[in-house]
């Protein structure tokens, strides 16, 4: 395509050019002699505004702007899994080959590896009639993930040409379809999809299944649902990234898309180094084989940060359409919101709260609404779960990003500075966190764990709430003046906090705890509470009731009882029972 468009203004990542009447909104363009990648974000008469995804230093007025004719899109095909990309799906390993060590400009739009050949198994034959979403071939992308090649959403037709099974590169036409008006479409190993457009599904379904994470405070107290949304807000140093990493490592989604949005370079390096060595408990293969990483570190161009969350969610939807359960971690959505603010400021738009643009809430809503449990076009059940970290300025949850995010997510896992200072990890505050999924997940818990687990959860939460009230009194007058039954509440709350809510991500057993153990541990704490309460009601002093050794054993059961052998719980319960029976008998 030709164009006479020339740059007329440059201000950081925002560039204006004239003669752009033929350009479309959201079209991808090449800016300047270096062919920097940009996107049209406003058109006013012949003058267009472009946000540029690369450093604009050195750009001159009157350099050309070239159209590409299509919106900013991703190539979706084999080669995504286990790879790390920048905010616009350029593989960072490839960039490293081109521009050693540091990320240069003008690398151009590269994405999937075009030279690698994949072993393809064709699943259709001549004469088959295919509709959008139908699978026409399979590729074993990694040891864990089978990549299912699907007919793109706008294409239907009859198979008129098909290649035999074999090894092909992604540019090879595998299948040719003949449409209604005789239009022929080649199906290659990839399809393209614009990042800002949600991919279509047959229908959205109710959420009924939890996203099991192996983290006690989540699975039991504030569960997440497959297809649901969650926000993890917390000031710096409260462990947002750590929590996100734990979820990426251990949640039972089939595929993880991890977006490092405006975060630290070393954190992404850490993921790159650690994930290949971690073993997925379900498949016993390295976790990296089911993970896609998107990295726009805080010093990479800000416009690409804005695009990175859309890139991530589009990849997630693509794998969802194959029938997988995908979880997407965005760390952190605040950086994305700040990227919006930064670009909005450069556009000299009228700011709303704290300088954020007025469209912040609608952008957040659009993003979180792309989560869901769906029936795909090929009639499979699949889901996208979104877990977004929020980094509130000053740790203040009333700032615009946290406030608006709260409106669009159903689970809110508030990280607490005070808990983090005491190194209580995960520092999820049980008083102001919530999960809207308790009710819909009830049947699943009853069926798969036990009927009393949610009741148990509520009882334990009551103890924690009561402890919170009592602790105000304790802070004023000391613990000693409380009656024994209230002191027992404090002691049990301590057991719950240390023995249950705190979970050690660096301990080989404690980093991931299967649900049955989570449930039995809670049963055990309740049992200890009931037995102790019984003794307290007999008038036995708390100093006797609180057997330090037993209480310590309960608090340390997370370490001492292995995940795959829960018989120790029964033994410990017997020990508790015999101690209290003896104690009560001696007072009768």
């Amino acid at each position: 395509m030709t164009s006479n468009s020339k740059i007329i203004m440059i201000n950081g990542p925002v560039v204006k050019a004239d003669d752009m009447a033929a350009f479309k909104m959201r079209e991808m363009v090449m800016v300047g002699n270096k062919k920097l990648i940009g996107e049209v974000i406003a058109l006013d008469g012949a003058v267009g505004t472009i946000q540029v995804y690369e450093e604009t230093e050195g750009l001159k007025v009157n350099e050309p702007v070239l159209p590409t004719g299509k919106p900013l899109s991703l190539k979706l095909g084999p080669g995504l899994m286990g790879n790390m990309f920048d905010g616009i799906e350029r593989p960072l390993h490839k960039i490293e080959e081109i521009s050693k060590g540091f990320i240069g400009e003008g690398i151009g739009l590269i994405s999937l590896d075009e030279e690698k050949s994949w072993q393809v198994e064709i699943t259709v034959k001549m004469g088959d009639s295919l509709k959008p979403g139908d699978i026409y071939a399979r590729v074993q992308e990694t040891d864990i993930i089978e990549h299912r090649l699907m007919v793109p959403p706008s294409v239907t037709g009859e198979v008129v040409h098909v290649v035999p099974n074999g090894a092909y590169t992604i540019e090879t036409a595998l299948v040719q379809l003949k449409g209604q008006k005789g239009k022929r479409t080649d199906l290659k190993m990839y399809q393209e999809w614009p990042i800002r457009l949600p991919r279509p599904v047959n229908e959205r379904k109710m959420l009924t299944q939890p996203l099991v994470t192996g983290q006690r405070v989540l699975d039991i107290f504030f569960p997440l649902a497959k297809g649901g949304t969650a926000a993890i807000p917390g000031g710096f140093g409260t462990g947002k990234t750590m929590t996100q990493h734990q979820l990426a490592k251990w949640s039972d989604a089939d595929i993880i898309v991890y977006i490092g949005c405006g975060e630290r370079g070393n954190e992404m390096t850490d993921v790159l180094e650690v994930f290949p060595s971690l073993i997925d408990p379900k498949t016993e293969k390295p976790l990296m084989e089911r993970t896609i990483l998107i990295a726009n570190t805080s010093n990479m161009p800000v416009a690409a940060r804005e695009a990175s969350v859309y890139t991530g969610i589009t990849l997630a939807e693509y794998y969802r359409d194959m029938g997988y359960h995908v979880a997407i971690m965005a760390d952190s959505t605040s950086r994305w919101a700040e990227a919006l603010r930064e670009i909005s400021g450069r556009l000299e738009e009228m700011p709303a709260e704290e300088g954020y643009p007025a469209y912040l809430p609608s952008r957040l809503a659009e993003f979180y609404e792309r989560a869901g449990y769906v029936e795909t076009l090929n009639c499979q059940e699949a889901s996208v779960t979104i877990i977004g970290a929020v980094s509130p300025a000053g740790g203040d949850f009333s700032e615009p990003v946290t406030e608006n995010t709260k409106r669009f997510v159903n689970a809110f896992l508030a990280l607490d500075k005070k808990l983090a200072y005491a190194r209580h990890y995960p520092a999820i505050n049980w008083l102001n966190s919530y999960s809207g999924y308790i009710k819909v997940l009830g049947p699943w818990y009853t069926e798969n764990i036990s009927s009393d687990v949610l009741e148990l959860r509520n009882e334990m939460l009551q103890i924690l709430y009561e402890e919170n009230k009592l602790s105000d009194i304790v802070a004023l007058v000391g613990e000693d003046v409380l009656p024994d039954d209230q002191r027992l509440v404090l002691e049990i709350a301590k057991v719950i906090k240390i023995g249950y809510l705190q979970q050690n991500a660096f301990h080989k057993d404690d980093t991931y705890v299967p649900l049955p153990k989570q449930h039995l541990m809670l049963e055990m704490i309740k049992f200890l509470y009931e037995k102790s309460a019984e003794a307290v009601h007999m008038g036995i002093p708390i100093s006797k009731v609180k057997n330090v050794e037993l209480y310590n054993k309960v608090m340390k059961m997370k370490y001492t009882i292995p995940n795959d052998d829960l018989t120790g719980i029964g033994r410990l319960m017997t020990e508790i029972e015999s101690y209290y029976n003896g104690l009560i008998a001696s007072y009768q």
Binding site: N62, S99, G235, R264, N299, E354, G355, A422
Partner: protein
Amino acid sequence: MNKEYLRLDKIEGPLIFLSGIEGASYGEIIKIKVDDGTERYGKIIRLEKEAVIAQVFEGTSGLSTKNVRVKFTGKPFELALSTEILGRTFNGVGRAIDAGGEIFSNELYNINGRPINPVARQYPRDYIQTGISTIDTLATLIRGQKLPVFSGNGLPHNELAAQIVRQAKLSGDKNERFAVVFAAIGVKHDDAAFFRKSFEAAGALDNVVMYINLADDPIVERISTPRCALTAAEYLAFVCGYHILVVMTDITSYCEALREISSAREEVPSRKGYPGYLYSDLAALYERAGMMKEVEGSITYLPILTMPNDDISHPIPDLTGYITEGQIVLSRELFQDNIYPPVNVLPSLSRLMKDGIGEGYTVKEHPDVANQLFASYSKVQDIRALAQIIGESDLSPVDQAYMAFGRAFEGDFVKQHGNENRSIKKSLEIAWQLLSMLPKEELDRLDDEIIAEFYGK
């Protein structure tokens, strides 16, 4: 591009406005000859058709719209670097201000640098012993880390930074080359002199490069000072293979300069009048620390910032904390109790320590002991609050033990002499003495085996 432009349209604060310009490029450096014979430099920060807005590094005072000749260099801000810079002192735009003359070199580096590709980074794991108990034990400094010191006006952050420079240099370096890059941004004359003197006292002056922008130097130079310093650090680390410690003070002055220029440009402000891009801008500095694969050197980065009104939620410390890998927070309360270094360990944190301590790095029990110290000292805070109301003598025996633990923690562990270089072993020994003051069952973060091995010994 040898055209000279003889007229400015407008001068406003540090900015000059020109029109009728052809072929200027964004970010390019301009030379401004003033009719008094001096020469200044500026950088283009906005281009619109033939109009240019540039910021002048040396400030605009003395400029008129007519007494200047402006020349466009066609180049971004580049610094000439060679290993000759070691032992030298430069101003905020990289020009020598000592007696040694300019640096001549063909190796030119853009001071904005480029982002390090995350796949090219090497995850930092080697720990640096600073000889300061609180840092080594509880917020361990790792080679390649960016760890800021959050301080307040009048607190001894300079002394602490100087002590780290002095002591960190000596630990475990075999034949590795070590150098310090020091950047002073808008600091007082005596602060700059203090650092110079302490480098001298450590006998390290030959291995120090200094970039100095004093409090009365031009504002715009504050923007380029840290960039020059980090470009020099990158050169020494990633080209020459040095292990570099970058000490930078005071980031608060940097941010204020940024705010001043932003407001002169009439940009939409965000929190407290700071520009909306403060986060990205700070990140562009902090993220230049690190280590890279297949490259010998490293950049460890210790920026110092004074929290306005000691407020950790102020945008500067807040955004910094989100980018850096932890922070060392100084406390006015401890300082008033005559405790040096007044490190408040509870909000202090090193995000990289988890991978750089423990077996094979420091000692096996280090992570657990650190956790226990945090948990116990955090409990001391609650008990102190209680003791203020009911009096210490009415506390339960366990709580009284905590009170004693708290005092000893501050007096024996946190407090140390400005020249005292404690080994990690020594620091942990003190830690065990303190933990042994508490009843065993209070040590809920430690395994029984570890308690059996060290408790009371």
